[in-house]
Amino acid sequence: MMENRSLRIVGLVGCLVWLFFSFFPLYWVFVTAFKPPLAVSQGATYIPFVDFQPTVQAFRDAFSGIRGDFFGPIMASISISLVATVLSVFLGAMAAYALVRFEFRIRLASGLMFGVISIGGFVLLNGLFDIGVPYALLVVLVLALVVSIWMNRYGLPGPVLGNNDVTFWFVSQRMFPPIVSAFALFLLYAEIGRAGFPLLDSFFGMVLAYTAFGLPFAVWLMRDFFSTVPVEVEEAAQVDNIGRMRIFIQIVLPMSLPGLLATSMIVLAFIWNEFLFALLLTSGDWQTLPILLAGQQSSRGDEWWAISVAALIAIIPMVVIAAILGRMMRSGLLSGSIK
């Protein structure tokens, strides 16, 4: 009994230490937001009214607009990240469901053929026939897709890729440094813009980029959630002659709601905090919060009080959304839905 109690005390102390380490950065950001400049640069100060006299000047500066427009980026971040998250998770869920329930057999040769046709075709159309980048890309990608799918039906030589390979291919999209795709996307958007379809600094362009950005996470995570859904339920529905799409939307998705919410939270967090794509693809109209946050570090040095205020403002919407989703995940309705 005594030994048990000692262990509990040790565990409690360990938890408290962990709690301290977890909360201290938040506390530090919070108090720094209320510090005057001299209280930041003249040694560490911890407790308001004791170590320093708190001021709300940094908040006044932030909301008066002299440190940049906060309202616009907040609204842009909320709208872009919510729509892109919904699209990513929905499309990712469909792809993940297909990867769990259907068997894919993709011949490597047809994949290589896709590459050869798209790259070679682009060089040919753009280089030799001087067709604009967006039009050349559209033509060769559609052509390459149709030809490679058609060729995949025939007994091409070489290895055959299965479902795990396809899943890995999705995840591999997130393995290379973001700048590799971000700059290419910027160039593509600029070319499409020149063709009369402006995507740079537009809601549609940002949602498109972030949907692609979030898709690999959604596929990877939802695949595991769908694999826990009993296939017997779907088979029973099929016996009743219910279509696959209806099964997916009306049976599988509701049964996987906790997974959908968890995936949404992760994807949303990644999109909410994404910096590089936002930097390259936006200008004035659809600038997001991470750009504004980074902007608080100016050529005049690190103004930590301003950075802290911006950080607090940036995390509040995420805290609210996480609290709502977390509450939904904990609710009895959802926890029982998979039974």
Partner: protein
């Protein structure tokens, strides 16, 4: 008939009113003006936009980006001709990389009293590239020495200093005097430290190092030889002049507050304004902060950076000695500039907006507006002491403006490095400089490594191209 008459009169009045309100008429024109996040510079642009919009009936949209991302953002947008920006606010060091994508300033803006009022250092050197005026200075920047009258003019301190060092206590004229004073006032037990400079990598440390180095390397006999040999483009940064500068810059750590290796310019400023240090080196912000929000109000004094009687001559390979102290005040950063990208759809309106921002009236207000980040760059800015009454006492203003004017007027004023690939050069510099300051390598080893890296970069960019660009940046004719 009466109705017709009234309508005619009303229409004529409206027409006349519109004509008066919109001069020139830019109704329907929206300018996208971009710079770093405010308040510095962006707030000055926003304030100028109000007047411009009233005068021209156009609209200004101020777009802000993080300072660290401005360069790639502007360069990618201009090189891809996205037409995102009508006016960009940037720093002179980037002009060599940007110049290809910028339109030239209209000739009519390059004449008249407003043009002549801009100090020639900015007008003739920093605003031009390859003989063309590509940008307009909207903020004058240089490093200065910030001092405290409550220490310098204290009779007890004066007597003690003279007894200890054998000469009167006054604003340091040489770097040796600077370190004497730093040592004299360094009293950690009393909570007072000798001086404050920035030493943190990424905290603008290299500009502080350059400010020391200018005094020992900017040889008036060999113009433009501070950073590179203007004949061969060989890096000069490991010569004895630079070595002395680095050794002295590092020595300053002994008189800085604890943890100075982690201090950037943003930390140096409140250390001075809060009375923690006896002096500091900084841009013009320290003086304003000290006089408005600090604990040394009324005691702010500003001086030109110290100079030297010895300057390294890279041609003879010896130190040149001078009878008088040669001041080589360093125009660190060089201030903010405005330019109009060539892909702007509204170049005329854009240049008209630039003219508004830099006009004596608008800029004269910006320099005394808190947090605008705009510092003097026009003769009229230095002459109008009354304009500063809301910020400084009369003595403070005279000292503050006098030091800036003297720096610009100094015959041997040193300009900042302006070269294509500026970031690549300074990245190598910062890495090795930080190692030397941390004691991981000797100053000479660090400088040799920087020189080697700079030479390799020059070869990579193309030695002839870089040489031509460097000579243009220091005002030398092509070879």
């Amino acid at each position: 008939m009466k109705r017709l008459l009234l309508s005619t009169v009303a229409f004529a009045a409206l027409g006349a009113g519109t004509a008066m309100a919109c001069e020139p008429d830019y109704t329907g024109v929206t300018l996208n003006v971009s710079t770093q996040n405010g308040p510095a510079i962006a707030s000055a642009l926003a304030a100028a936009a109000v007047g411009w919009e009233e005068r021209t009936c156009g609209t200004v949209n101020v777009i802000e980006f993080p300072f660290g991302e401005l360069y790639p953002k502007f360069l990618t947008a201009m090189s891809q001709q996205t037409g995102d920006f009508d006016v960009i606010g940037f720093v002179p060091a980037w002009l060599p990389d940007f110049s290809t994508y910028l339109s030239s300033m209209p000739v009519e803006l390059q004449e008249g009293s407003n043009w002549d009022d801009i100090h020639p250092v900015y007008r003739e050197r920093l605003m031009t590239w390859n003989g063309e005026v590509k940008s307009a200075t909207m903020d004058g920047d240089m490093h200065m020495l910030n001092l405290r009258a409550d220490l310098l003019e204290d009779p007890e301190e004066m007597a003690a200093f003279e007894a200890a060092y054998g000469y009167p206590l006054a604003a340091p004229v040489t770097w040796a005097q600077y370190y004497d004073q730093a040592e004299f006032f360094h009293r950690p037990d009393d909570g007072l430290f000798g001086t404050a400079e920035a030493y943190r990598r990424g905290g603008q440390q290299f500009w502080y190092f350059f400010s020391h180095a200018a005094s020992y390397t900017n040889n008036p006999s060999n113009p433009g030889s501070m950073f590179f040999d203007p004949e061969t483009m060989d890096a000069q940064i490991n010569n004895p002049g630079w070595l002395r500068a680095l050794e002295e810059y590092k020595r300053g750590l002994d008189f800085n507050p604890p943890g100075a290796l982690n201090n950037g310019s943003g930390d140096v400023r409140p250390l001075y304004a809060g009375g923690t240090v006896a002096m500091n080196i900084d841009w013009a912000d320290s003086g304003v902060l000290g006089s408005t929000e600090g604990s040394i109000e009324g005691h702010v004094r500003t001086a030109m950076l110290p100079g030297s009687t010895e300057i390294w001559n890279h041609v003879s390979g010896e130190w040149d000695t001078f009878d008088e102290v040669v001041h080589s005040p360093f125009l660190a950063f060089g201030g903010w500039q405005l330019a109009v990208p060539a892909d702007s759809e509204n170049p005329e309106a854009a240049w008209d907006f630039v003219a508004e921002v830099i006009s004596p009236e608008v800029s004269g207000q910006a320099i005394v507006t808190a947090n605008s980040g705009v510092n003097p760059y026009r003769f009229s800015h230095y002459d109008n002491l009354e304009n500063w009454s809301s910020v400084f006492s009369e003595e403070e203003a005279a000292s503050y403006l006098g030091a800036q004017r003297a720096s610009l007027d100094a015959p041997n004023v040193a300009l900042d490095l302006r070269l294509p690939g500026f970031f690549s050069y300074t990245e190598i510099l910062e890495i090795e400089l930080s190692k030397a300051l941390a004691g991981q390598v000797t100053p000479q080893e660090a400088l040799d490594a920087i020189a080697e890296g700079w030479d390799a970069l020059t070869d990579e960019f193309g030695r002839d191209t870089q040489l031509a660009a460097y000579r243009a940046s220091v005002g030398l004719p092509p070879l």
